[in-house]
Structure formats: C-alpha cells, structure tokens
C-alpha cells in the first residue's frame, strides 16, 4: 500500500487538492446563498418567504447527484459547456445552500422577537437590525451545525467523481483501474477523507459541548 502511494502520490494529492478547493468554494458561496435564503424565509413579506421556501424544499428533496448531473448534462444543451469541476461545484453549492438556509433560519428564529422589536423601536431599519443585531447572534448559535454541514459538504464532494471533477474519489477510481489494486487505493482515499473530516468532526463535538 505504501508503494502504491509513493508511486501515485502526485495523483492522490491532485485529487486531495481538488476536493479541498471544491469544498471551500462551495462552502463560501453556499453560506452566502444559504444565509440570504434564511433571511428571506424569516422576512415578513409573504412572497419572498414563498420563494425561499420553494428553493429550499426543491434542493433538499432532490438527490445531489441529480442536481450535479443536471448542471453537467442538461445545462450545456442551452448554455456553453462547463467542465466537471465547475458543474460539480455549482451543484454542491446549490444543494448545500438549502441545508445551510435551514440551519441559519432556525438560528434566526432562536433569537428572541424582542430583539427585532427593540431595534425597530430604536429607529433602525429592518435590514440594519438584521445585519447588526440579529445575524451576528444567530450565526454564533449556528456555528456547530454549520460545521457539521461543512463535513457533509466534504463527503458530498465525492459526487464530482461522476462528472470527472478530478477530485479525490475520481483520482482514486483512475488509479484503481490502472493498478488493479482496488482495495488499497480506496483505503488510501479513505484516509485522505478522514484527514479532512475526522478532526473537524471532533472539533465540532467539542464546540457543541462548550457552547451548550
């Protein structure tokens, strides 16, 4: 197994790098999108609440693989084609943003209504109150669940393998079919994933205990 690694370490690291890159890009954008939809979901305006709800329900209830394949296969029929990495990352972003929206929404709702009323009574506008008072409090509560979403995101980034996204899973697949050492290759791939997810998962458990 060590030999397998030393012979193919460059491919493994390329995959590792693409997995990290895709996860981080998807995390940043899905966090922005997700918080946006969470704010819309708690908005007093009925129309915007409806829009956010439909978006969240759609992406929460359709498999990530179908979303990703949609961007890889269906969209190029109308728009210029994109490579697997881009399509996969866009799919991941939209899928994760729905889950983040749910997490942030429950965070927003756990901030007492008195906070918003107090802000409005003191002359802040709705958006000012949201930005300066409500969101900072809500995000603090949502840090552990958001961390768990990030772990899920890293694991989910393995769907990039379906669309030739160059990620860890895809590289592992290629190496396994070149060397015929299937199980050792997948063990190495698994170790790489654990390097990313296991420390994060323990850190989140620690944070949960500390904040509780």
């Amino acid at each position: 197994m060590w030999q397998l690694f030393t012979q193919n370490w460059q491919d493994f690291l390329t995959g590792f790098w693409h997995t990290i890159l895709s996860s981080i890009i998807a995390l940043v954008f899905s966090f922005i999108l997700g918080s946006g939809f969470a704010i819309l979901e708690t908005n007093p305006n009925k129309f915007w609440r409806g829009v956010a709800k439909v978006y969240v329900e759609i992406f929460r209830n359709i498999p990530l693989l179908v979303v990703t394949m949609f961007f890889y296969l269906v969209l190029p029929k109308v728009l210029p084609a994109m490579n697997g990495f881009t399509a996969g990352t866009i799919g991941l972003t939209l899928y994760t943003s729905a889950f983040i929206a749910e997490t942030v929404r429950s965070g927003l709702q756990s901030v007492g209504t008195g906070q918003m009323e107090g802000c409005l009574a003191n002359g802040l506008s709705y958006w000012q109150a949201m930005k300066n008072v409500i969101l900072p409090q809500a995000l603090k509560i949502t840090i552990p669940p958001l961390g768990n979403q990030f772990i899920n995101l890293i694991k989910n980034s393995s769907v990039l393998a379906f669309v030739a996204g160059m990620d860890l899973m895809y590289q592992g697949d290629v190496i396994a079919s070149n060397t015929f050492q299937t199980i050792p290759t997948y063990i190495i791939v698994g170790i790489f994933y654990l390097i990313l997810t296991l420390p994060l998962s323990y850190y989140m458990q620690y944070l949960e205990k500390k904040l509780a």
């Binding site: 209830n61 693989l65 179908v66 394949m69 296969l73 393995s158 769907v159 698994g190 654990l194």
Partner: protein, 220 residues
C-alpha cells in the same frame, strides 16, 4: 415538444417506475436493517461497556466521516475480494446499512443522552435494574424524541440510493440514464421527471418529519 412526448412513452415510463421501485425497495430494506443495527450500536455507545463502547465509538466515527460513495466501492469490490459473491443490489444495501447504521448510532446516542438524568435515577430508586430502566424507561422516551432526526436521516438515505448508479444498481437514475443514452434529446425530459419523482418521494417523508416535529414539540 415532440421530444418530450416521445420521451414519456408508456414503455419508458414503465421502465422508470421499475427503477423507482428498486429505489424504494433498497431504501426500505436499508432503513429497517440500519435502524436495528444503529439502535444497538447507539445503545452500546451510551452504556459505556468497558472497551466495547470505545471500539464501537471509533468505528462509528470513522464510518460517519467517510463518503458513502467510498463505502459503496468498498462493499462492491471488497466483499468479492473476501470471497463473498455479491450482486449490485446486495453491495448497495450492505453499503447503505453500514453507513446509515453509523449515522443512526450517533442520533440514538444523542437521543438517549437527551433524556433527563432524573428518569434513570428515579427508575433505579424504584428498584429497577439498570437494564430494565434502560429498556422500559429511557429508550421509549429517547425514541419518541429522536423521530424527527431519524426521519430526516431516512430522507437522505432515499436520496443517497442514487449514488449506487455507479455500481450499476438498476434504480431510478440508472434507468433514466439507459433511456437517454438511446437518444440524447431525452436528457432534459428524463432529468425533469426523475427530479419530480425523487422530490415527491422525499418531500412526503420530510413533511412527515416536520409534522411529527411540531406534534412532539407539544408533547414534551
């Protein structure tokens, strides 16, 4: 427009429904098995049996932090290497059960830990043994509290069955791929209809989860 009408011919629809049926079949079997195993593992992890609980804890943590896709590969290529012959169906169900059992074990452990301490103390001081208290007092309460989390885990299980296309399990997504590989014009109609099918299946489940969540919030 003609593409859409041709794509949704009776034969194609029947073929898709066969795929949907396999998806449901794999999901239901995996849900049942993984629930039983998850319950046992979660309880073991909670009751702190010397060594055993630690070992179970480490295994559960490792499996939970691996992508399901990787576990599917392991069962599909790994089981034959150990001399067990598998078809895609068995490999997919094994992978699902292994992964989901680990996820559920964590939910069960958290659920049991959320039952107030006084319950156990009260049961013990009324003369119940630890095991009696666990099975008659703690677990029933923990299970009712866990129902929403369990159901949302089941929703993600149903969605995750689509990953088994990679080992040619004849489920919904794979059947759709077979249909559109005959005619590239069918790609859009096929993805539209399977998205709707998955959506209906999962939406009903997550609605149920939400309904139970509000119902149970009133109970406790």
């Amino acid at each position: 427009m003609q593409n859409w009408i041709n794509a949704y011919s009776a034969t194609n629809l029947r073929f898709l429904l066969q795929g949907l049926w396999v998806t449901i079949e794999v999901s239901v079997i995996s849900i049942l098995l993984s629930f039983i195993i998850g319950l046992i593992l979660g309880t073991i992890r909670y009751v702190r049996i010397k060594y055993l609980s630690k070992i179970v804890g480490v295994i559960v943590d490792v499996i939970r932090n691996l992508p399901l896709l990787l576990i599917i590969f392991f069962t599909y290529f790994g089981l034959p290497a150990m001399g067990i012959r598998v078809n895609p169906m068995i490999a997919a169900i094994t992978a699902m059960v292994v992964f989901e059992a680990a996820m559920l074990a964590e939910i069960v452990r958290a659920g049991i830990a959320a039952v107030p301490k006084g319950q156990m103390e009260g049961a013990r001081s009324n003369g119940m043994t630890y095991t009696q208290a666990l099975f008659h007092i703690i677990l029933p309460q923990a299970l009712t509290m866990m129902i929403p989390a369990l159901l949302s885990q089941f929703v993600s299980l149903v969605k995750d069955t689509s990953l088994a296309t990679i080992i040619v399990l004849p489920e919904l997504l794979y059947h759709a791929q077979i249909i559109y590989s005959q005619d590239p014009n069918y790609i859009i109609p096929m993805y539209a209809i399977i998205a709707v099918m998955y959506f209906i299946l999962c939406f009903c489940l997550s609605r149920l989860a939400k309904y139970l969540q509000t119902r149970l919030a009133n109970v406790f």
